[in-house]
């Protein structure tokens, strides 16, 4: 069987606008899966060639920015030469206000974008078509997420022109749900689309193509048959992630180093994508209203700790980098007891990124820092408990702030967003956040602060009537990208909308300004500080959250004890009394909390209080890292 399989040669391509600084895990994993089934696979990170051509920094800017689909627009003429909707580049004028991040002046931006669109895209596609031995491939696969569609269509179109027998297979998040079948219907250079997870479907598809078997027997496919789109039943999601091989990134590194995108060095600092879990255990129970991730595969699955340890070690050895970026949507909480303690014990030198739920506590963050988690993206989203409730986040503002505190203390970089625009929110929700932010300046500011984007698959999209969302239309820039024949309602991932009884934009001016000030404060040479020293019944808090206005609070006895009682985690006055006898009624303790809050030293949220200062002493060893729980697991 291997022999006939090895006759089917496969190329997997990652097109612009995939980030240039790390390999595509989708392409790397599909290569390993297909090769495990006996198919020879080459991978091509063609995004790198385009990044080099237009300048890696500018390319990176296009990748990182979330806004109008500039990347898709740049390739739309090449993807749809006769039917592209904006040959005259009206988008650059129409959306000029949203493109200012791309250059110093509108003229400079227009000139650069037009040069790329009219010249460099075509030269790039010509060069790509000539330089790679496409004629040796029977199947060319494209993985498409976010703005990778039109560049992929443009190349596929050329390949189908020059090599009519090549089979083009598309997949990825852009083909999930309704999107894949509609793209198959409307765009003729797509032969087959894999809808949903491709781990099992893709090798089965290759097997059927190699053997000439009926594709109707393979679940999870969409293709045109006699001018109609034929969709097979949905494939089941991969239940056992431990069965997946590790992604193969060799060709990425070779290509990136050949092109000079990465230096050729002995030890690399590249963040290697690693998948330790899929789906979202929180979303499976309470889907956050704005989240459109995990379109059709929300159920949570994770790799065993033993398998994760193996993969970290083997990938570090293969690619000579100890940095790992987990692509998981949420951390598997069992890793706190079964994975991280082992990493601590083994004293590995990994640096790891994870997306996490914001309810992590001090001891958990301490453990993660010890284990090498140096970056996290918590689902903070708001500093208002009522807004968090509206978005079904399952956390309170006071927990979010506590996570920021201890992550900061233990040296974990936090990347988080401040969002607004949820149906049902009030002006008070935002004036309260605006008032609280000056007290939080010593904590890492949000990476972005803006209105939510309405995403396909999110509850706001799926239950739009219940949320009183009106005038739902595909985000405006799609109309500058896709021809009339494409049903944007079925293809778009982002949508414009209005909400009944929504707040006016002016209601967010205060929080927008406060967030900007917060970010600005962290640009200073000395970031804002609020730190404390303590001895029994004695606390001193140094406050220099406003640069040049430093001063010290000194508290003794009861006040010191009350402040320290709320240091580790949010605590109520009643709970404080339960743990210690303060000879004061709960009401008096609550009044003292309010006094602390007035000085910006505590954050109050309902009945809970949280001291805001961080320990002045850094770098102390954790009190325990669960050593007793780790004896059964060792690095193999």
């Amino acid at each position: 069987m291997r022999e006939w399989r090895s006759a089917l040669r496969v190329v997997l391509v990652s097109m612009p606008f995939m980030n240039p600084w790390s390999p595509s895990i989708q392409v790397g994993l599909l290569k390993s899966l297909a090769e495990a089934h006996g198919f020879p696979v080459r991978t091509l990170h063609a995004n790198l060639d385009f990044a080099v051509r237009i300048g890696v920094d500018f390319y990176d800017l296009l990748c990182q920015h979330r806004g109008p689909m500039v990347g898709e627009w740049l390739f739309s003429l090449a993807a749809f030469p006769d039917t592209a909707p904006d040959p005259d580049a009206r988008m650059v004028e129409d959306l000029a206000g949203r493109l200012s991040y791309l250059g110093k002046s509108p003229e400079e931006i227009r000139e650069r974008l037009l040069r790329i669109r009219n010249t460099e895209v075509h030269e790039y596609l010509n060069s790509l078509t000539d330089a790679f031995p496409w004629g040796e491939a029977e199947v060319v696969g494209f993985s498409s997420t976010f703005q990778q569609n039109t560049a992929s269509f443009a190349l596929a179109r050329r390949l189908k022109h020059y090599y009519p027998n090549v089979v083009t297979v598309f997949g990825g998040a852009n083909f999930d749900g309704d999107m894949g079948p509609e793209l198959v219907r409307a765009i003729d250079c797509i032969d087959i689309a894999v809808i949903g997870e491709g781990d099992e479907t893709f090798p089965r598809l290759l097997g059927a193509l190699a053997a000439g078997d009926d594709l109707d027997a393979i679940p999870g496919l969409a293709r045109r048959v006699d001018g109609q789109v034929r969709i097979t039943p949905p494939a089941s999601v991969s239940a056992r992630l431990d069965d997946h091989p590790a992604p193969d990134y060799h060709e990425y590194f070779q290509h990136a180093e050949d092109l000079g995108v990465l230096p050729r060095v002995g030890h690399r600092s590249v963040w290697l994508p690693i998948e330790t879990a899929r789906g979202c255990w929180w979303g499976a129970k309470h889907h956050c209203t704005f989240c459109g991730l995990n379109g059709t595969s929300m159920s949570f699955r994770s790799k065993s700790p033993e398998r994760v340890l193996d993969e970290l070690a083997s990938q570090a050895r293969r690619y000579r980098s100890f940095r790992f970026e987990a692509v998981d949507n949420i951390l598997d909480m069992s890793y706190l007891t079964k994975l991280f303690p082992v990493l601590v014990e083994n004293e590995t030198g990994y640096e790891i990124f994870y997306e996490v739920k914001a309810s992590l506590r001090r001891e958990q963050l301490k453990l993660m820092a010890q284990a090498g988690v140096t970056r996290i993206q918590p689902g903070i989203e708001s500093l208002s408990s009522s807004v968090l409730r509206l978005m079904r986040k399952g956390t309170r503002a006071i927990q979010n702030i506590n996570l920021l505190r201890w992550a900061q203390h233990y040296g974990i970089q936090v990347d988080w967003n401040l969002l607004w625009g949820f149906p049902g929110e009030t002006e008070q929700d935002y004036t309260e956040q605006e008032s609280a932010i000056p007290h939080l300046l010593h904590l890492p500011p949000p990476s972005s602060a803006d209105r939510i984007w309405l995403e396909r698959f999110s509850p706001l999209f799926a239950e739009r009537d219940a949320f009183r969302i009106r005038h739902l239309t595909p985000e405006l820039s799609y109309s500058y990208v896709y021809p009339d024949g494409v049903d944007l309602e079925r293809v778009a991932y982002f949508f414009d909308y209005t909400v009944d009884d929504c707040l006016p934009e002016s209601a967010y001016a205060g929080i927008r300004r406060a967030a900007a000030d917060w970010s600005m404060a962290w640009q200073a040479t000395s970031p804002p500080v609020l730190k404390y020293w303590s001895a029994p019944h004695f606390v001193q808090i140094y406050d220099e959250r406003r640069q040049g206005h430093g001063g010290t609070y000194t508290f003794e006895g009861t006040l010191a004890d009350l402040y320290l009682a709320c240091i580790d985690e949010p605590t109520s006055a009643v709970a404080v009394l339960r743990n210690a006898n303060f000879n004061l009624p709960a009401e008096a303790i609550q009044e003292i909390f309010v006094e602390f809050q007035k000085r910006g030293l505590m954050f109050l949220d309902g009945q809970a209080a949280l001291s805001l200062a961080l320990p002045a002493a850094k770098g102390r060893l954790p009190r325990s890292v669960g050593r007793g729980q780790t004896s059964a697991i060792r690095h193999r």
Partner: protein
Amino acid sequence: MTDLVFSHQNIVDLADKISSVQPSLNATERQLLLAIFAAAAERAKLSTTGGPSTIPLAELKSEPPGMRAGQPVTPDVLKQQAATPQSLKQQLLDAYIPGNDFNILAQVQNKITGDQLTG
């Protein structure tokens, strides 16, 4: 068990307070109180230099913060635990002092480092 640190003045103050309740005690109660004090006195470590003396602290069913094992306890702390909401508010009002000495300390540290380097 934690030691309580006390001074001669603490004893004088306590004796004054107990003397005020003496008229209300009957003979048995007075004898009992004296016997308790006598037994306790045997466990006190008295200073011979005029400094503070110590006596093992009794375990109370509900200890105020700061009276836990392993933490030294002074009469000052006991006084603070009895603070009123009003006095705590006053402490809050007086708590803040602007300024810092970080630059001065940095200069001193630099000087020491410089001396070490040149030495």
